[in-house]
């Protein structure tokens, strides 16, 4: 165990397509988190931003941009880019600063104004960039990879289109209860089946949208939290940031091919499973200790994959777990009670932070209609393009 940090505050800007800039979203979320923490911005010793691209500027920005918007006050600053894991790396950077004594209170912010439609690589010809190559050579969008995983599950584990649809039905019903979610309407399996195929076998309602949105956290040392008098002390106990192990034998975004297993045997765990395992080992808990999980449901079938990678059930048993209702609110291990990406959509730098916001509210018992009764331990799971692991365990 590496020690804990306290979560003093959590805040979001509601997700949607608002047509404004990421700085505004991030600032709203940051102010909400500071107010929730009862901490004055001028008392924050460090700000960590999860990066996004600023339009027209050839680079990634975050930390200082939010610091300027909140009012320069001289805080230490860091900005991190790790694709979809950027938010978890921002949390981890803040945690490392707190545990090493570099800062007592850290504000973590992620925000984005996502482009409409498919994600695509930045402009220019870049044959040394796997993300550019998969689009240029194959036209392989993110949903085509989700389609490959879904079809593979159907062939290997016998998952059905109805199973996939039921993930959406579950998450949409939960998103309907969440005021920060972009989509707040229930969805039926018939509506999923009637939506257009995007990448066989997945349909439009199996795949998450792109959204604008923001999320922020105020983290502190346990000593500061005690002095501050925070009563319901949610703590972060683990942040997994692991990379894959060679050979990585599951075809993964954005690669055109896997590693070869000719010279080295693959690890027993897949990359996704190793992300969760590292978090469990660091936190000293196991799947049986969890009260809830927030997982990265880029597609309905990918949520099922995470059930197995988190050890919520055995390999191939995810659809059974879903059918039993175990992952619904009120079930043995509710998954994506926030509504998940199915209800939020992707705002890349914000989403891993948003997952921790949901854990925070759940562990405080402040999640309203979507509250998991008696929540004590929660895990988030996420994966960043190019081999960035991301999982956070929080406890009460």
């Amino acid at each position: 165990m590496t020690g804990e940090v306290a979560v003093l505050g959590a805040g979001m800007h509601p997700w949607g397509k608002w047509g404004r800039g990421f700085v505004e979203y991030g600032t709203v979320a940051a102010r909400a988190a500071l107010a929730d923490a009862g901490v004055d911005w001028r008392d924050v010793g460090s700000i960590v931003g999860a990066d996004t691209v600023r339009g027209g500027y050839p680079g990634y920005v975050a930390g200082a941009t939010f610091a300027k918007a909140l009012g320069w006050q001289g805080a230490r600053v860091a900005s991190v880019y790790a694709a979809c894991a950027s938010g978890a790396q921002a949390v981890n950077t803040a945690r490392a600063q707190i545990l090493s004594g570099l800062a007592d209170v850290v504000l973590v912010v992620g925000a984005d104004a996502a482009p409409k439609g498919f994600f695509r690589p930045a402009g220019g010809d870049r044959a040394d960039d796997p993300d550019w190559l998969r689009f240029r050579v194959l036209g392989a969008t993110n949903p085509t990879y989700f389609g490959l995983y879904a079809r593979r599950r159907m062939a290997v584990h016998g998952d059905t289109l109805e199973d996939f649809a039921q993930v959406k039905v579950k998450n949409a019903a939960l998103g309907a209860l969440n005021p920060n979610a972009r989509y707040r309407k229930r969805v039926t399996a018939e509506q999923v089946a009637a939506s257009a195929v995007v990448a066989d076998p997945l349909r439009l309602l199996d795949i998450c949208a792109t959204s604008d949105g923001a999320a922020a956290l105020v983290l502190s040392s346990m000593e500061f939290a005690r002095r501050h008098g925070t009563a319901d002390r949610v703590r972060i106990r683990a942040v997994s940031t692991v990379t894959p192990r060679y050979p990585n034998t599951v075809l993964d975004l954005p690669d055109i091919a896997t590693d070869s297993a000719v010279a080295a045997e693959p690890a027993a765990d897949t990359f996704r499973a190793s992300i969760a395992r590292a978090a469990y080992e660091e936190a000293g808990v196991g799947p049986g200790d969890l009260s809830l999980a927030e997982v990265y449901d880029l597609s309905t079938s990918l949520e099922l994959q995470w059930y197995e990678d988190l050890g919520l059930c055995g390999e191939g048993e995810a659809a059974k777990l879903l059918r039993e209702g175990a992952t619904a609110l009120g079930g043995r291990i509710p998954v994506n009670v926030s509504g998940g990406l199915a209800s939020f959509g992707e705002a890349v730098p914000a989403q891993a932070i948003a997952q921790v916001c949901e854990l925070t509210w759940q562990l405080r018992g402040a999640a309203g209609d979507r509250q998991v009764a008696g929540a004590l331990v929660g895990i988030t799971a996420n994966q960043g393009l190019f081999g960035h692991g991301s999982s956070v365990i929080a406890v009460r």
């Binding site: 240029r136 392989a140 062939a155």
Partner: protein
């Protein structure tokens, strides 16, 4: 747009990878700088043709026009193509590729044998960009 990924014509068409002389790891797309096996002392990377046939690991298609840098004519109606991830037994790796035109997801199944054939990615007045396609064995279209 990327050189050295495939070679030959007709029955002689092959994807090209590289193989580490020290540990025998195979890389596709080709790795010409350093062997990426962390347990390998590092060897020379030699160009090798990959197996011509493999088995379908999974497959999907693209029912909507992908964004650039994929090249397609916006004047023409979008025609979906299928993508297959193919397991090559002797190299123990999986390679993604488009299917030959005319083969759809309805024609495919996980585990089916496919072979690599030359194909056209796109063309304009000056240039034809060639690529590899996967085709179920026994299909001659």
């Amino acid at each position: 747009m990327v050189t050295g990924w495939f070679t030959g014509e007709g029955e002689e068409f092959r994807l090209l990878g590289t193989r580490c002389s020290a540990c025998a790891s195979v890389f596709f797309p080709r790795e010409d700088a350093f062997c990426r096996n962390p347990g390998c002392p590092g060897g020379d990377l030699e160009e090798v043709p990959l197996s011509r046939r493999g088995r379908v690991w999974s497959y999907t298609d693209s029912r909507y026009r992908p964004p650039s840098p994929y090249v397609s004519d916006p004047e023409l109606e979008w025609r979906p193509y299928a993508l297959i991830a193919v397991e090559l037994e002797s190299e123990r790796l999986v390679v993604l590729g488009q299917t030959v035109p005319g083969v759809t997801v309805a024609d495919l199944a996980v585990g089916m044998e496919v072979e690599v054939v030359p194909g056209v990615l796109n063309e304009d007045a000056e240039t034809t960009w060639t690529t590899w396609h996967w085709r179920p064995t026994g299909v001659t279209a």
